[in-house]
């Protein structure tokens, strides 16, 4: 049996990868993928805890997170396409209309 801490360390590494990717990448698609990575890092910790404590709630949570992530992916990709069509770039540093 693999101990719980292994899962949690892996989950932390995945999440940290997501954060770092989010911070250093400029391409929106990559950033988007980093977000998914963070979500799934968290998912992993959920199922790990659920298995460890023999509680079903964590697994149910994961399903919800996946559904939300799927919906988010749809919306996000749609936005990315819209942005690309208007600005012809995927570099977030150039998508700064909100700046004062």
């Amino acid at each position: 049996m693999v101990p719980l801490s292994y899962y949690l360390v892996l989950s932390g590494i995945l999440f940290a990868c997501g954060v770092v990717g989010f911070l250093i990448k400029r391409n929106i698609i990559t950033i988007f993928m980093s977000i998914e990575l963070m979500l799934n890092g968290v998912n992993l910790s959920f199922v790990a805890f659920a298995a460890h404590w023999h509680a079903l709630a964590g697994q149910v949570f994961v399903f919800f997170v996946m559904v939300v992530a799927a919906a988010e992916a749809t919306v996000g990709l749609a936005i990315i396409i819209a942005v690309y069509r208007t600005r012809e770039t995927l570099n977030v540093d150039q998508v700064n209309l909100l700046k004062l």
Binding site: F22, V95, N96, K99, L100
Partner: protein
């Protein structure tokens, strides 16, 4: 069985009239406006008569509960009415004289563009005055008290486009507020110590208390504070200054509010609170002294005035002083008696003066009148009767009431009596002076341009003015009715009839003095004779000075020099008040409160706070770089801090 009197109708009827005229009067014709005003005011009078008719068959004091008002943990003040002999007298005087003055106003105000406004205010005044008179607790009375102040303010400033009228209204209002301050504190003391403001409850709790003969206590304090309130409303020293200025209002207003009814509210209030005052001899002495001084002081000013209404105004102040003197020596019924007769003859004097002013096209200066008795005989006749009444010539009304007061004052302290007698002499003198200057000698109106002095809202200057003309019947009839009342009104006092009628209200104090009266009946007759003599000599002196040797007054004035000009300028009291109170207040408000506190503290602190917020925000907004990754960095850093903190918590445990 006690019949239901429905007292509440009496105040509510004029209120309805005021509302109808106030809301719809602007579009209605004059006839409609005056009909509504007269009908509602007349209905109140009729209802008051009905109450008087059933008066003997109700158990007194009759109380009528109308609606809840304030009920907080033991303290109760309701919309409820209280009827006893005292309020009945006031009720009849207010509705009766009020109705007559309403009738008169129909003629007097006919050409005024604010016709509907005038009658709406007038009815509103009736509502508040009747509330004041009928209230069964001090708080409801205070509502009426403030309400008549409001109506008075509105009516003094009725011709508000005239600067002097507007400021006279303000002056009346503000001076009254000073008095009300004392009144209110008196009421607070009553609540604090007796837990109620209902007349019946308060007096019930006070009755067992022994009179505060040694030193001043709670009741003396309450009494003096109530007296301060009465001083404001009834124009006594030191708060009398508003009443002469109040003559800026239309003459019927002066007659109704500033002579017959509202200004007597203070006397009514003192008489109503007689239970308190009887147990506070110190407060009573204050009342008597203030009344006596006011009577004399105002009378002397009255001698020198040349404006016909100003003479009457000072005369009113002086007569109110008499009433306070009466209350101050414990003769409350004499005070109320004089209040009633005064309402008749002073109301009449003002209305007649209005008729004179009407006749000569708005002129109020008596020096520009004279010889009017042939032009306006009816006005002359009625005004003559009123003058005889106020001067105290028997058998006119004023004689009986004034003599009653002087007799009671003599019993209390002969100094009051002496000053009262001197005042009676002066009263007689200046009233006959007014009569002679106005109606005798030659008419001086032709020499001056009467048009230039016409009242702004008075339309008569258009068609005038070769000859002064008599007023229409709608104005003369009230004059005549009041003249009859001024003749016979005093007769109810014969054989102490009036005093016996009011005895259930004022109780044992009166009975005791009535007992002592029989013993010195001869003395009373002697004093009566003296006062008639004094009144007659005042009239004769006026005749000599103003009719037979008309050059003398100027000579006397020149001889007296500075003293005369002091009296002429009303002893410079207005100037004194301006220097002592008004100017420091205005200066202090301007330089300290406005420029100092308001500008420097309040405005600046708010402006500085706003500037500071702007400045800070201006710097902080640079954090909003628009760079997505920097936002994400901040979020990640924040989360890292939170997580670190939570780990620290976990490790620490």
């Amino acid at each position: 069985m006690t019949p239901t009197l429905n007292l509440w109708l009496i105040p509510v009827l004029p209120l309805a009239g005021a509302a109808i005229n106030g809301f719809f009067g602007k579009k209605s014709s004059r006839t409609a406006v005056s009909t509504i005003a007269l009908v509602f005011c007349g209905a109140a009078f009729a209802w008051a008569l009905r109450v008087a008719w059933h008066f003997s068959s109700v158990s007194l004091p009759y109380q009528e509960y109308l609606a809840h008002w304030i009920r907080i943990s033991g303290f109760t003040a309701d919309f409820a009415f209280y009827l006893d002999q005292l309020s009945l007298v006031m009720l009849l005087v207010v509705t009766g004289v009020g109705f007559l003055i309403h009738v008169y106003s129909v003629g007097y105000m006919w050409d005024d563009p604010g016709y509907y406004r005038f009658f709406s205010y007038l009815n509103l005044f009736m509502f508040f005055m009747l509330t004041l008179v009928l209230a069964n607790n001090y708080l409801l009375m205070f509502i009426g008290w403030e309400g008549v102040g409001l109506a008075s303010y509105l009516l003094i400033g009725f011709w508000f486009t005239k600067d002097s009228a507007a400021s006279a209204g303000k002056k009346a209002f503000i001076v009254n507020r000073i008095g009300d301050f004392g009144f209110l504190i008196g009421l607070f003391l009553l609540i604090q110590h007796f837990g109620s403001l209902n007349f019946a409850d308060v007096f019930e709790k006070i009755r067992p208390i022994a009179p505060e003969t040694a030193g001043a206590g709670l009741l003396t304090a309450i009494g003096i504070l109530l007296m301060v309130g009465a001083c404001g409303k009834s124009a006594q020293i030191p708060l009398y200054v508003w009443l002469p200025d109040a003559m800026e209002g239309p003459t019927p207003v002066s007659a109704l509010i500033h002579a017959a009814t509202m200004v007597t509210a203070g006397v009514y209030m003192v008489a109503r609170s007689h239970v308190i005052f009887e147990r506070a001899p110190g407060a009573l002495t204050v009342v008597a002294i203030i009344g006596t001084l006011t009577a004399l002081f105002a009378a002397t000013i009255g001698i020198t005035q040349t404006d016909i209404k100003k003479v009457l105004a000072y005369s009113t102040v002086s007569q109110l002083g008499y009433m306070f003197m009466a209350c101050g020596v414990g003769a409350f019924s004499a005070g109320i008696f004089h209040l009633m007769t005064h309402a008749f003859f002073k109301g009449l004097l003002f209305l007649a003066a209005g008729s004179v002013i009407h006749a000569v096209g708005g002129e109020q200066d008596m020096r520009k009148m004279g010889g009017l008795r042939t032009y306006i005989p009816w006005t002359f006749l009625t005004m003559g009767i009123a003058t005889l009444a106020i001067a105290g010539i028997p058998p006119f009304a004023g004689f009986w009431s004034k003599d009653e007061i002087l007799w009671k004052a003599y019993q209390a302290n002969w100094i009051y009596w002496l000053i009262g007698l001197v005042t009676a002499f002066i009263t007689s003198f200046y009233m006959f002076r007014l009569l002679f200057m106005t109606f005798f000698g030659d008419y001086h109106g032709h020499q001056v341009d009467a048009h230039g002095h016409a009242r702004p809202a008075h339309g008569h200057d258009d068609h005038s003015h070769g000859e002064p003309h008599e007023s229409p019947a709608v104005m003369l009839v009230p004059l005549m009715i009041l003249a009859v009342l001024s003749v016979v009104g005093g007769l109810v006092g014969i054989g102490n009839g009036f005093e016996h009628f009011l005895a259930p209200v004022f109780g044992t104090g009166e009975a005791a003095s009535a007992a002592g009266e029989g013993a010195s009946h001869g003395m009373e007759l002697l004093l009566m004779f003296v006062s008639v003599l004094v009144a007659a000599s005042g009239a004769v002196l006026a005749w000599v000075l103003y009719v037979s040797k008309a050059y003398l007054p100027q000579k006397i004035a020149d001889t007296l020099g500075g003293f005369y000009s002091a009296v002429l300028n009303k002893y410079y009291v207005d100037e004194l008040y301006a220097a002592l109170f008004v100017k420091p207040l205005v200066d202090g408000s301007t330089h300290i409160l406005w420029q100092g506190v308001d500008r420097k503290v309040i405005d600046d602190s708010i402006n500085d706070a706003a500037d500071g917020a702007l400045h800070v925000s201006d710097n902080v907004r640079h954090m909003q770089s628009g760079n997505l990754r920097s936002y994400a960095g901040w979020i990640a850093a924040g989360s890292a801090v939170v997580i670190a903190y939570m780990i620290w918590l976990g490790v620490g445990r």
